[in-house]
Symmetry: C2
Subunit: 111 residues, 2 copies
DNA sequence: GCATCATACAACCGTATGGTTGTACCGATG
DNA sequence: CATCGGTACAACCATACGGTTGTATGATGC
């Protein structure tokens, strides 16, 4: 189970379009940092920082291959975020069910 | 489909423990801003700002009831985030499948 | 109409964030 | 071993963010 601080990092990491695109590209898991940087209108260092943010959030990993470091998205990190949203969803459904019951009860009582 | 800026707002809104807790509490949809504020060790104004961030992200709505404004989580906003994560998940699965095929092909060729 | 509860918003402050440039390190290759 | 490609990191800058206090607006109850 992820701590509050971990959720903070995961969602903060996903709250940037460039980083989301890096996550998407890193699913293929074939590009190094410099190759990723070519896709974006910013310096290499900026992209490197974005990758570092994603890495700290546990959303990607880096593996040295030759002189490059290939960036790969870590599906485990994504799952943490997914599970939190799913829990909200469950709670929401529970609430809706309870309201439905309430309405049903009322109907039964009033009919 | 949500735009990049909308995703930015949704994930940024979720990247704070207090705001996530407000979302959770607002699922019940019974507390006003002042009542929510009682749960947290910060000023009323701070909580109000958090609610405003969630509102701008489309994660909660406010409805005037008497002199209060009841905060309710908007499940549609959550769905936007969920769908993005699900898409990453799909892409990831696709990649794994492709790799599996590749390995299978190789085996078939080498046997 | 007045006091009051609930909300809204502006101004301010410290720190975090996203970007830049510059420098240093590491590994492959001639 | 000298060079070069790829990465890492520090220093710096502007702006955004999370918090505060103070003031204003709005709906309720007497």
């Amino acid at each position: 189970m992820a701590s509050a601080a971990e959720f903070d990092r995961v969602f903060a990491a996903l709250a940037d379009a460039t980083r989301r695109d890096i996550v998407r590209r890193a699913i293929a898991g074939e590009e190094g940092v410099a190759e990723l940087a070519d896709h974006y209108p910013m310096s290499f260092a900026a992209v490197q920082k974005h990758v570092a943010v994603l890495e700290r959030a546990g959303l990607v990993t880096k593996q040295r291959i030759g002189r490059r470091k290939v960036v790969r998205t870590n599906v485990v990190g994504l799952h943490a975020a997914q599970r939190l949203l799913d829990r909200y969803e469950e709670l929401w459904r529970g609430r809706v069910d309870r309201m439905t019951n309430l309405i049903t009860d009322t109907r039964e009582r009033t009919t």
